[in-house]
């Protein structure tokens, strides 16, 4: 049992959680920096923009609150950590260990999400105080399904960033590629406007990309807006498999290129 991967992971997780609790003030600030959906909601309802897309004010506010939650628990920063570790030469000891370095980062992310949870909940309560009419309690089944799809959304983003992170072996500064990828994520994922409001010339191809499955899909499930649950989760799963295969390949090619730095 001692050598099993579950044991390794749970130990890693516990240490990372302790580490993250140390930085809870920063994580609280980070949670606050995710309030953009609320500002967008304000623009939408204040100008009556939602009338023509047939989403009521209440449903829209639930959508944006859910979008806030989904974003909180699918934020990924692995490329920035990895880049720093690579530049400072910390990757070298990680690579020798009988544990994939990205398991460590994965545990970091999960630990950070759990630290973040109370803050996100606090912001949500604050939101309901100002918008009591939009208060709703999703059914247990809805919560479970949306948790799965939020976790899948997190996995997709984690794998996408891990692929970019493995470019660090070639370019050293891979985070600028991540910043580039963040732009379509921001505008197409549904964080600023629900995908159902997009013009037809975008809707026709957007579902072929992973972006609407990152925020719009899980947020629609959680808020009770229209969503094709089985199809969505299946497509999320396909993206995970695809990105996982690419990551394995790029990591393998990258480690062959690896030159230790900063020792």
């Amino acid at each position: 049992m001692k050598n099993s991967s579950i044991y390794k992971f749970s130990t890693l997780f516990k240490t990372q959680y302790a580490n993250m609790l140390e930085y809870r003030a920063e994580i609280a600030l980070w949670a606050i920096s995710g309030v953009i959906p609320f500002f967008m909601l304000n623009i939408w309802t204040n100008n009556g923009l939602n009338e023509s897309i047939n989403i009521s004010n209440v449903m829209l506010s639930r959508y944006f609150l859910s979008a806030f939650f989904v974003r909180q628990f699918s934020v990924v920063w692995v490329v920035f950590t990895f880049e720093e570790d690579a530049l400072l030469g910390r990757v070298s000891p990680y690579i020798i260990q009988p544990l994939h370095p990205f398991i460590r980062y994965f545990a970091q992310h999960i630990a950070e999400q759990i630290t973040r949870f109370p803050f996100a909940l606090f912001i949500a309560i604050f939101f309901f105080i100002f918008n009591p009419q939009s208060l709703w309690i999703p059914s247990f089944l809805t919560i479970i399904i949306s948790l799965v799809s939020i976790f899948f959304s997190f996995l997709i983003q984690f794998l996408m960033q891990s692929i970019i992170a493995s470019f660090c072996f070639w370019t050293e500064k891979a985070s600028s590629i991540e910043k580039l990828l963040f732009i379509p994520t921001l505008f197409l994922s549904g964080l600023l406007a629900p995908v159902s409001s997009f013009p037809p010339y975008v809707k026709s191809w957007i579902y072929l990309t992973p972006f609407p499955y990152l925020i719009d899909f899980p947020a629609s499930i959680l808020s009770g807006n229209q969503a094709n649950i089985t199809e969505g989760i299946f497509i999320q799963f396909l993206w995970i498999i695809l990105f996982f295969t690419i990551f394995k390949k790029s990591w393998k090619a990258g480690t062959k290129k690896f030159t230790a730095m900063g020792l």
Binding site: E26, S33, G34, I43, N46, I53, K173, L180, A193, P199
Partner: protein
């Protein structure tokens, strides 16, 4: 204050920063692509808003585009001067190398604020001016020397406010050491500067004019261009920016008293 000395030091700063940045040439290209995509993205978002209505907060699409132009310019300024230096300040304080800065026979705020420059933002500034000149065309703005002077004055004020906000947050590093996330909060609030302030509800408008003065940063310069801004707003903006500049200076002096260095 010896202005000639400061100018010379500043040109050395620029020279060294450019040689560092040009090490990563592909990055420059990727960053250019990022700022163009970012602009397309926000115009796309605006077009979604305006496909449902003719105006938001009294601004039509062509007018709202002016705000995008101003925002892009200011974002470029932030990325060129404020952002790269802020990263350095955090490092100075965490590693205790601020000691060396304080010992130099030059103003510490000057050194800290202008040490680094990142050329990628310069392209964004150009892009912003390009959008603005297109807006002149579609809004039929008759351009006079007077409106040009007013635009420059309000832009300088906006940049001063932005600088002060960034510098105030950097200054708090002296107490809290890790302020990187505080700048993320500021960044996400500033992001709302892409939209006319009149499109928000009354309470948020108050928030964006007092706590974080985004109204002064992007909306007023845009109103000046459209000739919609009354004189008192411009005077108020000048006053606000002066207050911010003076306060950030005083705050830095105050914070330095609490600087205790770090072990080497």
């Amino acid at each position: 204050m010896n202005i000639k000395k400061y100018l010379q030091v500043y040109s050395y700063f620029n020279y060294s920063s450019f040689s560092i940045e040009l090490e990563y040439k592909i990055n420059l290209f990727i960053d250019l692509l990022t700022s163009i995509l970012g602009l397309i993205g926000s115009v796309f978002l605006l077009s979604i808003f305006f496909s449902n209505t003719d105006e938001i907060g009294g601004w039509n699409f062509n007018q709202a585009l002016i705000i995008q132009g101003i925002y892009t310019i200011l974002n470029g300024v932030t990325n060129t001067w404020f952002n790269p230096n802020l990263k350095e300040i955090v490092k100075y304080i965490r590693e205790g190398t601020l000691d060396y800065v304080l010992l130099k026979p030059i103003d510490s705020q000057f050194w800290i604020s202008f040490k680094r420059i990142s050329p990628t933002g310069l392209i964004e500034i150009l892009l912003g001016f390009f959008v603005l000149s297109y807006c002149f065309y579609i809004n039929n703005i008759s351009f006079t020397i007077w409106s040009f002077i007013l635009l420059i004055i309000t832009l300088i004020c906006s940049i001063s406010i932005l600088y002060s906000l960034w510098f105030l947050i950097s200054t708090t590093t002296i107490w809290f050491v890790k302020t990187w996330n505080a700048t993320e909060v500021l960044r996400s609030f500033l992001y709302m500067g892409r939209f006319p302030m009149d499109s928000f509800s009354f309470s948020l408008r108050i928030f964006f004019s007092t706590v974080i003065p985004i109204t002064f940063i992007t909306t007023i310069p845009s109103e000046v261009l459209l000739g919609l801004s009354p004189a008192w707003k411009i005077i108020l903006e000048v006053l606000v920016s002066m207050t911010f500049l003076i306060f950030s200076r005083k705050f830095w002096k105050f914070a330095l008293r609490f600087y205790t260095s770090a072990s080497s």
